[in-house]
Assembly symmetry: D2
Homo-oligomer: 336 residues x 4
């Protein structure tokens, strides 16, 4: 049994992690923590856990945590995470961190986009980017996993075969994505107040979204050369899911059939990536850890659609996939 602590259990990714661990046959929840004013019984904070989970959500106490848990799923927000992760590691836990704090290797880019100094560069260097389909081997031996952002997960899985094979131009990739509203987190705001967001759809983060440098870093690593991505996120009136529509310029003429073969070869037996013959739908992946991808050609352009659940493959599910790898377990446990 993997003994799991969830740090920052009062948000949506915390709740989703609890949900998954409750169905996991070789992991158990042992400790839930949150900010002091968000503590209480977990089934009062999230009534969906009534009768299913009786744990308290407590203020973080490293003495209590030490020796009790094998791994921490750290669901803290950006900037807060890097204060706690070193202590979690020191307490002997493996850590899967949901924040951006350990994702961006170039700290100057991190500091520019997140507007703070990075205070834990030692661990930043050691952290492994937790996209199992691309970095499974590195993940296996790691102590600290930087769990990828939701948008980068959908976008990178969509373009990785193209970049690896070097068949598209790397200076003109456009990622147009639409997320469900759970991606905005659990704090109520005017934009996401139901009567404002319902029946609505709009772009945001125009030219400034923090997932853009994360995408470019990973894309460049895969391509072995600098990749420029114009990433444009939108939010639509649904809870879960990200649909990425990706437009690339091929270096030489290609076809839907060739692309389909390329993607099937690339992802082979990956348990959570499915290559489709038609446009994927966010509802088909909602609540699952799967990524559905459809690559095709339109008017000479390569167009790739990918769909994931932002809270599962884009956050908690991928974290638990990483956890399963870290502990040598079957990768699909809890995620079927």
């Amino acid at each position: 049994m993997i003994r799991v602590a969830i740090i920052g259990a009062s948000g949506y990714t915390g709740a989703e992690s609890i949900e998954i661990i409750l169905r996991h046959s070789q992991a158990e929840l042992v400790y839930l923590s949150a900010l002091p004013d968000e503590c209480g019984q977990v089934d009062e904070i999230f009534p969906q856990f009534k009768g299913r989970c009786g744990l308290p959500v407590e203020p973080l106490d490293f003495d209590k945590l030490k020796g009790k848990a094998d791994v921490a799923l750290c669901c803290l927000p950006h900037k807060v995470s890097m204060e706690f992760v070193p202590k979690l590691l020191d307490a002997g836990l493996k850590v899967v961190d949901f924040s951006a704090d350990y994702r961006i290797k170039d700290r100057s880019i991190y500091e520019k986009f997140y507007g703070v100094k990075h205070t834990d560069t030692a661990n930043l260097e050691k952290a492994v980017y937790g996209l199992p389909e691309l970095f499974r081997r590195e993940i296996k031996g790691a102590d600290l996993i930087a769990n990828p952002g939701c948008y980068p997960t959908g976008a990178i899985l969509a373009v990785a075969p193209l970049l690896k094979e070097g068949i598209v131009e790397t200076d003109s990739i456009i990622v147009n994505a639409v997320t469900g509203v759970s991606g905005a987190g659990r704090n109520p705001t005017s934009k996401f107040h139901f009567p404002n967001m319902n029946e609505n759809l709009f772009a945001y983060g125009i030219g400034t979204h923090r997932h853009m440098p994360e995408m470019e870093q990973t894309a460049s690593q895969i391509a072995g050369t600098d990749v420029k991505i114009l990433f444009q996120p939108h939010v639509g009136p649904f809870d879960r899911g990200i649909l990425s529509s990706v437009y690339c310029q091929p270096k030489t003429k290609t076809s839907g059939e060739k692309l389909s073969k390329l993607y099937r070869d690339f992802y082979g037996a990956e348990p959570f990536v499915q290559i489709c013959e038609a446009a994927p739908a966010v509802k088909d992946v909602a609540g699952t850890n799967y990524c559905h991808i459809f690559p095709t050609c339109v008017k000479g352009m390569v167009v790739v659609f990918s769909a994931i659940d932002n809270l599962v493959k884009g956050a908690s599910g991928q974290a638990i996939q990483n956890m399963n790898i870290l502990f040598g377990k079957e990768e699909k446990l809890g995620l079927e």
Copy 2:
């Protein structure tokens, strides 16, 4: 031209009032006010008015207002309204007040349910309850209209013919209603945060909702005897509309046909009440000032369904219907 001021223009009922006045051929907006920190250009606060309304929303200034407007649509919240209404009346305006402050004639009930002392009992006495289908004559000569609550509008229109004719028991009426989320106002809260409210439905205000005494007062007035109503509101994942399902015990056996005739006779040529032969749907009245009613019998009980738009017939539309009456205009102006 009726010159209209909207006091409290930064909320949903303010916006809906602006929308209707913009389509009104004999009324014009002359003044919009709100709390200082909610002021600005109206099309910045509500981008739907870009190119349609160029007025500023200003802090309320009675000197500016005086002589400029003929009527104030006072969209302030409960308790705040009674501070401003006397001054609006003193400034020579007719007032249609959206709050509950002038609806409940028994100030002890008001004070119990709203938890504050009533500070303007002089005007409370003079105010006319603005449900035109029942009190059109009184509205005509009034200076101050207490615009009915959204739930009472739907419920009272549903039961008025029964109570007027004395054909149902008055101690066992149940009003089960479901509202859209705009009824909760424009301030974001956790309950109405999109990912919490979407795909959700729940009861609230159990035994304590403030519209219960308002319903009972008007029902009793119509019946000429004390009426007890068990009112149970719910909120569902849609923007606009209230569906009321009303259950009554008839004094003697009746039938759907008899009820249908009773309702048609009672409402006769009322422009905004339509008697249906099947269950009304909130979408059919959304965005309109209409109330669709279907009275029927089930297993010996009288069951009546009514549907309104909570922001139109339940608030701004009814206010402008009242305004039209106050100024001797065709009642449907702006509401077609």
Copy 3:
């Protein structure tokens, strides 16, 4: 391993059953069947199963089925089911039937409400009504389970303690319920076309809904006397869930505290029934087999709210709960 066949696998309850069995550690799918023109690979019919289930959905062939499966989850519609259930039983399978065909013991009532002759009265007599919280003992030894309707599940769980203890009048119970649209099944119709149903809410089945006699039969059985229920269903713009708001007249004065204690005592350690201290929300039970119940008193009336997922506790989840009982397994398997 329980070997499970799903008969009628191409509808929503079929898909939900597949979903649950895929997560069940002691059951496996061995056979999926549907009408000939709804056959194909299950992951083409339901793309959410890509990579998760590779079975074909085939036209029903009893020779293939025989000896292959231990139990059939029979998701066929009313009237069709009773043609196939006897053959499934003859083939040596235990059967959990989702239709109404084996629920209503009085065949004259069945024939009135469903408009067909009952053609399998022998098995009708033997069938056990599969509401485990009330009939667990009978379920244990049965061969044929009549899985309850979605509305009756929510309503009966809400009123059973009241009826068992005889503390409410049995001639004036009102069940006002709102379901999500998945309850209407998978066949597209005008009423449930997205632009018609979205942002909508309406009553239907007024005085005629087929779940009314089913509720009354079970309620009467619990009460030991004839119970009359006025059941009024509505449909709202969400996928899953039923909220039942139940109004009863108590025989003698009671209180919320007493009711809360009564319900806690009655349901004791039931794994899937949770007694709440506030209004339950459909979103908290969506995707789960749980029923959240809040009993209270309002103005002398007993008011009980219950929330379930119509596809899980109201259909497939309850069927698998029944299956677990039939095979002596831990009742929560697959349903955590």
Copy 4:
């Protein structure tokens, strides 16, 4: 008074046209027609018109129509329209046609994308493309208006200033658009069945959507050179609205400020086009004839967002805007 006939009144664009004409002070409905099996009283077909419109919807009868109406809003589907339009013109009516039959000047392209021979090429030549912001002068004197498609309206208004000024490359424009479900029409299908479409989002018409050649034709006309557009539509879980996110390569470096000025100069006093300083939202234009546009620069690319209501500016509203122009009326009548 303009006397208006609506041909094909039983669909969503028919209903929207009725809605607008009911609020139009200088136009009146005189005749509504539909296919024989879709006829009946208009308020039975569309209950939202109860008490608002008492006209029958009748099978089309040219003898009845002749002399009765000044203009026909022809809401028939593609291919059907070209059978009726010549007869409507012969009957002496001006025609605003909602179908694609008169939009595409190159009949070989029409025939390729719509899969039928064009049978009314005489009128095809004379028809004027009814996008008032670009072709107001031509519209004035026309007898037959080809009312633009919903997607082309949003996309062309977004790119017209760029093409007119020649500041972007014309071989690499990408239009990524998301529509609400009303765009799919009123006939129920599996894809748009509420439980399938709700909480969903997906691409469709990949490389094959019929609005692509329409966009390219108009874009080329504006640019004075061949323009290639990669148009990718998506559908999301909301009723109304199209958000177009357009990506273009500028010929020389530009900036958000320059683009904003360009767009403001280009659209000047256009009543229905608003240039925004931030991302437009579909909800802000829903139910209106407005188009909100935000042009900006991201990483050297020109990115333009435009939002319209597909049923209003994308169909019925634009048709009535065209009608107002045809009859020399104030262009905003009925559309405020």
